[in-house]
Amino acid sequence: MNIMVVGVGGQGTLLTSRIIGKTALAGGYDIKLSEVHGMAQRGGSVVTFVRFGDKVFEPVCEEGTVDVLIAFERLEALRYAHFLKKDGVMIVNDTRIDPMTVVIGAAQYPENILQGLEKSHKLYTINGGEVAKALGNSKVLNTVVLGLAAKHIGFEKEEWIRVLQSTVPQKTVEINTKAFEEGYNL
């Protein structure tokens, strides 16, 4: 199974992919994850990969091979859509973050991204930021999105929650669990 998590540096993509990785490991699979560190993180386009199966060789997913693509931002969903395989599932956090090229007027943010993606992909969207805000902590938006994605990746819900609770900081266990449930039950 090939999973790709994309977003903007600072959105929590790394933690999301680590939870997916740990859940798969608990399921007894061989697993590889690939992360982005260093300068590439600073507000830039960030990509992480999770692959699991009986035997995994390369730690990245190739174009046209991804089963579930989790995008934390619309433009990033569009940027990496070609990584999805034909019947792959796309989970998009419905938010817009303008890249500096757009802020300074050097480029235009594409309109109607989701409508375009919907025509060619199995698309599920959620506004993780708003759900998280309603729960009282806008930072758990990545857990809301993970909850929605979890249903399409597989594994028991209880297993996801167990891994989640053992990964996030102790004092955020409760809100993260609620956030996961919100996404999962959508």
Partner: protein, 579 residues
């Protein structure tokens, strides 16, 4: 104890060092090598430190090795250039206890200034190179590297690449085994490299390399996997994974030691396999040696010297795969940017306003080169900003650099910038040097350094005072300015660049991402007062966007309330309020 854990490549390297009984490790941070030292610092049994630069780190590790304990130094590829001076001669002295030099190459330039290949340096220094292909091997091969070091009396380079260092895979944990410390004996012909002894050691180096070349065909980490004998690959490291992904049925010679090459093993493999490709990222190091032996292999005529490889790349080139080219959407780029509340943005906004050019250096502040800040004109290597500006002055005179400054971070200044500043003092510079002091090594993820007052292990220590340091070497003017006080910054910069005396301006304010930073304020736009002029957008803050009507909007969750934007609004439309 048998525990399976999913580990980052760098975590696994640290675990390998721990299990191999390493007692001393010294390093300077550099992507993608940084986390090795951070993970290793968690083991109480291992002494770990941040050195001011890689040359110091390698010398510390060498000292520990000569004293008789297993040691290591870690760095990124360009860090090895800094450490090359001790490296080349340590090849002559050899070791007492094992010495492993971990070097992380960065094909694809995730966070580097070039794509150099460490194997080229290893070849010219005549040092063996061990290269793993996943986290499990990273841990095991580290121990192997340590054994090679002691067996052949040589430092060993342990090569990793970004994809290996920053990917996670499964590792079987083992126990730590610490060998007895080696006895130290005074051996002038081995450890004092004056011409009379070095000439003898050069003979030893050549003999050792020849012996290793013979032995390498029997090294357990050089493995042959015979399958279909029509198509074969000679490969190592992460590219091995791409080969297995794309061509599961091909024969493979997987090298765990990539220098020196196992000649007999390669000859045999090439005899048994019809078409052999050498699949190696960056330089054709393996390929050229094999061709020089008169063996016909394919390599760089099919694959590039640039960037990271992939399985699809192999499929496209080799197997005539036509359906593995995918159409990418044309979308605006999203390059990395300075964070909201970054003090560098404030400093650069002043330099931009004054139309000043900056000789830049290595750090997050390299991002001051791009729009909309457009301040930095040059970035070469660690510490180069100061010496470059000095060269400009000596070439064109004092007047020429009156609209130039050098900008360098606090950690980079202590790395190699201070030498260049000594040169400025000695050779009568009139330049302005700005130390962008954000109290940390920012770009690599907040490592301590000699001016922060904390060690890698988190212990309190003496914090070098940058002002005192600059004064003590003879800089006539050293001025500290709050990086967010743009009015004062403007005044001080104007005065300094127009003065004929050397000046160091310390632009001080902590990194916005530093642990424990509190942001009591946030900024808000009064859309009634906003005249849509866009002046505030010229600082390039990612928390700021435009509403459909052209007025400016500040994202509350992203804003750190630094208030820089407020300084650039003539109409008082931006207010700084409590969170």
């Amino acid at each position: 104890m048998s525990e399976k854990r999913i580990m980052l490549g760098n975590d696994a390297i640290a675990r390998g060092a721990y299990e191999a009984g390493v007692k001393v490790s010294s390093a300077y941070p550099g992507t993608p090598s940084t986390e090795i030292s951070e993970f290793l610092a968690k083991y109480d049994e291992v002494y770990t430190e941040w050195a001011p630069n890689e040359k110091v780190a390698l010398e510390v590790a060498a000292g520990a090795s000569i004293a008789g304990v297993r040691s290591m130094a870690c760095m990124k590829h360009v860090g090895l250039n800094v450490a090359s001076d001790p490296l080349y001669t340590l090849a002559y002295t050899g070791v007492n206890a094992g010495l492993v030099v971990v070097v992380a190459d960065d094909p694809g330039l995730a966070s580097s200034q070039n794509e150099q290949d460490t194997r080229m340096i290893a070849r010219s220094a005549h040092l063996p190179v061990v290269e793993p292909s996943d986290s499990g091997e990273a841990k095991e091969y580290f121990k192997y590297a340590m054994e090679l070091s002691e067996k052949y009396d040589t430092p060993v380079i342990f090569r990793t690449t970004t994809k290996l260092s920053h990917s996670q895979s499964i590792v079987d944990l083992g126990e730590r085994e610490v060998p007895e410390d080696k006895v130290y004996e005074r051996q002038v012909p081995k450890y004092v490299m004056m011409p009379g002894s070095a000439i003898g050691r050069h003979v030893v180096v050549e003999k050792r390399e020849k012996q290793m070349e013979i032995d390498a065909s029997g090294f357990s980490v050089n493995k042959v996997e015979y399958k279909d004998k029509k198509l074969g690959f000679i490969t190592s490291g992460i590219p091995y994974q791409y080969v297995r992904e794309a061509c599961p049925n091909a024969s493979v010679l997987k090298l765990g030691v990539v220098n020196p090459l196992p000649k007999a093993l390669i000859e045999e493999f090439c005899k048994n396999v019809e078409t052999v490709y050498v699949f190696e990222e960056l330089e054709p190091v393996i390929e050229e040696q094999i061709r020089a032996w008169g063996i016909d292999v394919k390599g760089k005529e099919c694959f590039t010297k640039q960037g990271e490889y992939s399985a699809n790349m192999l499929r496209r080139v080799l197997v005539g795969c036509t359906d593995c080219t995918y159409e990418k959407a044309q979308v605006p780029a999203r390059p990395p940017i300075l964070c909201p509340g970054c003090p560098h943005r404030s400093t650069f906004s002043v330099l931009n306003k004054l139309k000043i050019h900056a000789a830049g250096d290595i750090g997050c502040y390299t991002l001051g080169a791009v729009a909309p800040l457009n301040v930095i004109d040059t970035t070469i290597c660690m510490g180069s900003s100061i010496s470059l500006l000095h060269g400009m002055e000596k070439a064109k005179g004092k007047e020429y650099i009156k609209n130039w400054v050098a900008t360098i971070g606090d950690s980079t200044f202590l790395h190699t910038g201070v030498n260049s500043l000594i040169n400025m003092v000695y050779n009568k510079s009139s330049a302005t040097v700005m130390i962008l002091d954000n109290r940390t090594t920012g770009m690599t993820g907040h490592q301590e350094h000699a001016a922060t007052g904390k060690t890698l292990k988190g212990e309190d220590t003496y914090a070098i005072d940058l002002t005192e340091l600059c004064r003590s070497i003879g800089v006539p003017n050293v001025i500290t300015v709050d990086a967010f006080d743009v009015k004062e910054m403007e005044r001080v910069v104007k005065e300094s660049v127009n003065s004929d005396e050397l000046t160091v301006i310390i632009a001080k304010a902590p990194c916005a991402l530093l642990k424990g930073m509190k942001f009591p304020n946030k900024c808000r736009v009064d859309s009634e007062k906003c005249k849509k002029c866009g002046m505030c957008m010229k600082i390039g803050c990612p928390a700021m966007t435009k509403n459909a009507d052209g007025t400016v909007k500040i994202d509350e969750t992203m804003c750190n309330g630094c208030g820089l934007c407020k300084n650039y609004c003539k109409f008082g439309a931006i207010e700084k309020i409590e969170r």
